[in-house]
């Protein structure tokens, strides 16, 4: 660090304090937001941090004038946080930042309009990011990481402030900030693996009368639909997952390709499970080639290809939690294979096409290097019939399945396989 004089340090600190006081007096949310964004590593905040570490006694500057001291509860711990952050002490930086944030929330609660929402967003973001870094520091020192969990509790409190900010008509101007905070909470819960905690905020967003989903900013709506869509995938509620993830895909900002790709990573398995395939171009555009062979397996009715594609990308699919969804595509692949056998028979001899010998299916599978005996194949066919992927009945004695003359292989048409 280049030499920094006391005078220059003093100037930088009072400059910040002046900007802080001005932002609040003029209700300038954008400027206030920038003054809080520790992790942005902005040159002005970094140079302030250096000044604080040289000057050491910034509290005296805060206390010496009424203009600054009224925000002392926010600014003093914020300065401490910034100093620690600059010195690479993330645990203390987080602690002090949470203290500053708590004091800020008390002020925010009393402001009638929502002018400071931008600043609140930055605080909600910073608290999460600083907590993550603090936890990494704790874990590497052999201590138990607990800050991110703490950040979650803090943000729940913020959510409560926003949700409770109604005026007499029942709608306060700050309520539109609730979805941003919700999205930060989702990120925390997904990271900590405590996704069940999402439920109470979701219930509040979706049922509380003060919220009107359409009113929220678009970026928060898209993020919200991405996370709730992923939750629906975990719950295997595919129509709901389709609706939410499709919303996110349709409305996501085009310049955020990484986000579009993430939406597709979950939407594709959902679409596959309701019988809709992504076009090759889509997979290529977003580098989702791990789905290529799965799509091809469905088109062909190639069970072997499905299994090898699942095995090849097993780790990846398990990590994102879509493995089980993809594994269930087996039934659709069986359906497709049987349909092909049926069509081939029909072309040869239309009069007998409706009778498919189980033996023939065994042989087709053997050709795909899948060893199954008659009983096992009978069992699979029974499941297909039960799940309405096939219409027909068994002539048990002759080991033949007799297909319905009408629509023997019903299509899913965007509906999930019956459970």
């Amino acid at each position: 660090m280049a030499y920094l004089s006391m005078g220059e340090s003093h100037r930088r600190i009072t400059d910040y304090l002046n900007r802080f006081a001005d932002a609040i007096n003029y209700q300038d949310g954008d400027s206030l937001a920038r003054l809080f964004s520790v992790s942005s590593d902005s040159p002005s905040l970094l140079s302030l941090a250096d000044a604080l570490n040289v000057f050491q006694d910034a509290n005296r500057l805060i206390k010496q004038s009424e203009k600054f001291s009224q925000f002392g509860e926010v600014v003093a711990p914020f300065f401490r946080s910034l100093q620690c952050y600059r010195l690479g002490n993330l645990v203390d930086a987080y602690g002090a930042f949470e203290k500053a944030s708590n004091a800020f929330i008390q002020e925010f609660r009393n402001w009638e309009s929502g002018w400071a929402l931008e600043a609140l967003y930055v605080i909600a973001y910073e608290i999460r990011v600083l907590a993550e870094r603090a936890d990494r520091e704790l874990a590497s020192n052999g201590k138990s990481p607990e800050k991110l969990k703490g950040a979650g509790s803090f943000l729940m409190k913020v959510f409560g402030v926003l949700a409770g900010s109604c005026d007499l008509q029942g709608k306060g101007p700050k309520r539109v900030g609730a979805l941003y905070v919700t999205c930060q909470l989702f990120k925390i819960y997904f990271k900590l693996g405590t996704v069940n905690l999402c439920r109470s905020v979701i219930r509040s967003i979706e049922t509380a009368r003060i919220f009107d989903f359409e009113e929220f900013p678009i970026r928060d709506k898209v993020t919200y639909m991405y996370y709730t869509g992923r939750l629906e995938v975990l719950n295997e509620n595919f129509p709901a997952a389709d609706q939410k993830l499709s919303y996110a895909l349709t409305h996501c900002c085009l310049s955020k390709e990484a986000n579009i790709r993430m939406i597709l990573k979950y939407l594709i398995p959902v679409k596959l499970s309701i019988g809709i395939l992504p076009k090759k171009q889509l997979l290529e555009n977003y580098d989702l080639v791990e789905y290529n062979n799965i799509v091809e397996a469905l088109k062909r009715g190639d069970l072997r290809l499905l299994r090898s594609a699942l095995q090849e990308n097993e780790d990846q699919f398990l990590r994102s939690g879509v493995y089980l969804v993809l594994e269930k595509l087996e039934l659709q692949v069986y359906q497709r294979l049987l349909k092909k056998i049926y069509i081939i028979q029909k072309q040869k001899d239309p009069s007998k096409a409706h009778q498919v010998k189980l033996e023939v299916i065994v042989k087709a599978l053997k050709w795909l290097e899948i060893e199954m005996d008659l009983d096992e194949v009978e069992c699979i066919v029974a499941i297909l019939i039960y799940k309405n992927l096939m219409k027909g009945y068994f002539a048990h004695k002759s080991k033949v399945v007799v297909l319905s003359k009408q629509d023997p292989f019903p299509k899913l048409n965007g509906k999930p396989v019956a459970s």
Partner: protein
């Protein structure tokens, strides 16, 4: 003992920060450009693939296989 503790914290580290698919933050002032009613995207799906066409390579091989079997009988 110390080694054990170290191993335990390694585990904690492994478990923590495990969401590969964390949605990237949108800039607060992100300029929002959407597709025209999601047109392009919706055109990238197909729901009419489950056709009766059996002229692809896979089906042709399947046919050969089934016919061979029939002959053997």
């Amino acid at each position: 003992m110390a080694a054990e503790q170290k191993a335990a914290t390694e585990d904690v580290k492994m478990d923590l920060f495990e969401d590969d698919d964390e949605f990237e933050e949108f800039e607060i002032d992100q300029e929002w450009i959407e597709k025209d009613e999601g047109k392009e995207v919706t055109q990238q799906w197909e729901d009419d693939w489950d056709d009766d066409d059996v002229n692809d390579d896979f089906s042709l091989q399947l046919r050969r296989e089934l016919e061979q079997n029939a002959e053997k009988k």
